[in-house]
């Protein structure tokens, strides 16, 4: 039964299983485990990013193509909900309209980009997505009448999602079940469903074809699979799920702006989460998102202290300052691509496999032997 829920694609490592279960339990009960707004914000952000990063892994890890437009689709979701809620008022029907429009726009845009760039060369995809995403970012900041420009949009959410709303009269385990908690659980269950859907997709015949294409494009084409079509469909699915993640973020923050959804920094974050977690595993998206978001929320403070401590050494405070977070992420990123191509999940699985005395896990071995 459980195996069917996760499409027979288990974590295949006891350490990983334990970590995933822990994450699942903590996220499921986060509103009751922590007090204060900050931990719940972190938990909500983790939920949204798990879905965002997992949908990106469908492209990078399973299909073997690099997109720089994933945050654009994330942003389309966010702006879809934001524009609908701020123009039409905080009703469920407005939200629904925003979601539908966002999903259609994201899907169509992904299809057009895919058909245009993948038809010629897979490498065009990375270049064209970078160009299109940049143009979209510029457009979103310029069309301020529509998108709120650089400032973004603030809006109200439907009433039952507001902090003032009470679902239950009595507190549960000492926590008042208000609209924020309702919102959190909407996030949680949509993300869970989305993640299980992705697991289903990658373990379906469609997912196997994607991986066959990643391994050897020409062979897949020779076997009669239209490579461009498959890659484009993967890109559309990935874009639509990213847009859904964007909607969730928009609901949680009650604000949508270029910095929260479209910025290049978020794209880099997503890349890092996939690579560090483990490309082509989906579970890597969970591990990567959790680690990175916790680190991003709590490490800069540590860096700040380190920098202050190293005040005497020239340039050390500059390099260790909290603002230089991205420098270390960049170095970490390059090093992980070289020395850690299967990420944490790949390593854990390989360790367990060795311990059991079997041959190395084929999937991680394949990821190591990546070709284009």
């Amino acid at each position: 039964m459980l195996s069917r829920v996760i499409s027979g694609d288990g974590p295949r490592s006891p350490v990983l299983t334990a970590a995933l279960l822990l994450i699942l339990v903590v996220l499921a009960f986060a509103p009751f485990l922590f007090s204060g707004a900050q931990p719940l914000n972190v938990a909500a952000k983790i939920c949204v990013f798990i879905l965002l990063v997992a949908s990106y892994d469908l492209l990078l890890g399973y299909t073997g193509i690099v997109s720089f437009a994933h945050t654009m689709f994330f942003g389309i979701g966010g702006y879809g909900a934001a524009i609908a809620l701020s123009r039409l008022g905080p009703s469920w029907s407005a939200l629904a309209l925003g979601i539908v429009v966002a999903i259609v726009v994201a899907g169509l845009l992904a299809l057009v980009i895919g058909l245009f760039s993948l038809r010629v060369r897979a490498i065009f995809f990375a270049m064209i997505t970078l160009a299109v995403a940049t143009a979209f970012l510029v457009l979103a900041s310029q069309l301020s009448g529509f998108t709120g420009g650089e400032d973004g949009l603030n809006y109200s959410v439907p009433e039952s999602l507001r902090p003032s709303f009470r679902l239950l009269e009595q507190p549960v385990f000492g926590t008042v079940v208000n609209g924020r908690i309702v919102t959190y659980y909407i996030l949680f269950f949509v993300v869970l469903a989305g993640f299980l859907l992705l697991l289903r997709i990658v373990n379906s015949p469609f997912g196997s074809v994607l991986q066959a294409i990643r391994e050897n494009e020409f062979r897949a084409e020779a076997l009669g699979y239209p490579v461009v079509i498959y890659r484009s469909i993967a890109s559309v699915v990935s874009a639509v799920i990213a847009a859904v993640a964007g909607v969730l973020l928009a609901l949680w923050l009650r604000y949508t702006g270029p910095d929260t959804t479209l910025s290049f920094a978020i794209m880099i974050d997503v890349l890092l989460m996939v690579v560090i977690g483990g490309m082509g595993t989906l579970y890597g998206a969970v591990i990567g998102s959790v680690l990175m978001i916790i680190a991003e929320n709590y490490l800069p403070a540590v860096f700040g202290k380190l920098g202050a401590a190293a005040a005497g050494i020239p340039f050390a405070p500059l390099i260790l300052s909290a603002d230089r977070w991205l420098l270390w992420l960049g170095i970490l990123f390059v090093l992980s691509v070289y020395f850690f191509p299967t990420g944490i999940v790949g390593k854990l699985r390989a360790l367990w496999q060795n311990r059991k005395g079997g041959a190395p896990q084929t999937r991680s071995a394949r990821a190591e032997h990546e070709k284009e």
Binding site: V66, I128, A131, A135, V138, L139, I268, E370, K371
Partner: protein
């Protein structure tokens, strides 16, 4: 068999045909823009600006396209050499403020040449390091190439942050290059743009001479077509490649200096911004093609300048539309490189 038979069997094609259509397209874009803009003097100003911008973009893009042609390496980090070049000019401009503000043309030219020299040396050196550390381990693996070169770009950008700070830096043009030059009734062209065109043309001519008249140039052109055969003739393609990579990085640095003066503002992210235009250029032109790179640069610059005047909000979008139109017409770019 007589030689005559062979002659009849093999009709000799007269001369290598030049494909004029893309050149005509470029001219057509400029002509169509004239009635839309409405004023001849504005049109001239915009077109000269586009020429200057196009030449600068060409200088920056040429290295990227040759590197791809030679070794099938796509360098997403290329943009950072632009930023490196631009910021290195600060090392010259800051101590030599007097030269910049001096009314002496010689000192003005001197400071510009020094900027260019320092920028090219620095970005060339960065290029050499980048090739060794970042790119060498990931030959023939496009996916990893894209990832690590993007990672390298972030790291070097952040290092620039550390040394120069994150806020935009305004730079002044040398005294004699400021302001405009009247070239007709109501028509004023900024001096620096003319200088940029002159430098751009000089670099283009020098590059063409090297590529067409020297042995190294022949090797590069042959290598873009068929690296394997170049090796089979006894040449080390790797060395040629490293040379081209360093030269391409140095040219990106030169472009960075020129772009910095063009904008008169330096930002850390400028390289990445321009990289987007460069990608559009090389896709339009045909990856690996140097002639396509020139035409692509001109097209992109013309469209960018005209739309920036007509409807500034859609400047970049219009370039993407241009790219899509070109890809619909010629999916491999305007001048596809025939690979064996």
């Amino acid at each position: 068999m007589s030689d005559g038979t062979a002659q009849r069997e093999e009709a000799v094609v007269a001369s290598p045909p030049i494909d004029w259509l893309p050149i005509l397209l470029t001219v057509a874009v400029a002509v169509i823009a004239l009635p839309l803009i409405g004023s001849v003097s504005t049109w001239v100003t915009l077109t000269v600006a586009a020429l200057a911008m196009g030449m600068i973009i060409f200088i920056m893009a040429s290295g990227l396209t040759l590197v791809f042609g030679l070794m099938d390496v796509i360098n997403f980090g290329h943009g950072v050499f632009i930023s490196v070049g631009a910021y290195m000019s600060l090392l010259v401009l800051r101590p030599l403020m007097g030269w910049v503000d001096s009314p002496s043309l010689m000192l003005n030219i001197g400071v510009l040449i020094l900027c260019i020299f320092v920028a090219m040396a620095a970005s060339g050196l960065f290029g050499l390091l980048f090739e060794r550390v970042i790119i060498r381990p990931v030959y023939r693996q496009h996916l990893k190439q894209i990832l690590v070169t993007m990672g390298g770009l972030i790291v070097i950008e952040q290092l620039l942050h550390v040394f120069f700070g994150g806020s935009p830096i305004t730079i002044a043009l040398p005294y004699n290059f400021r302001g405009g030059l009247s070239i007709g009734p109501d028509t004023i062209v900024e001096r620096y743009r003319l200088i940029a065109v002159v430098i751009g043309v000089a670099v283009f001519v020098a590059m063409m001479l090297v590529l067409n008249r020297t042995r190294i140039g022949l090797l590069v052109r042959a290598g873009v077509e068929n690296p394997e055969m170049v090796e089979a003739l006894g040449y080390r393609i790797r060395r040629i490649f490293v040379g081209v990579f360093v030269a391409g990085s140095a040219l990106a640095g030169l472009g960075g200096v020129m772009w910095g003066f063009y904008q008169q503002t330096l930002t850390i992210g400028m390289g990445l911004q321009v990289l987007v235009l460069i990608f559009i250029v090389v896709i339009i032109g045909g990856l690996g093609s140097i002639g396509g790179c020139l035409i692509g640069s001109m097209l992109v610059a013309l469209v960018a300048n005209y739309t920036a005047f007509l409807e500034p909000k859609i400047a970049l979008v219009s370039n993407i539309a241009l790219m899509l139109v070109v890809l619909m017409w010629r999916p491999q770019g305007l001048y596809p490189v025939v690979k064996v």
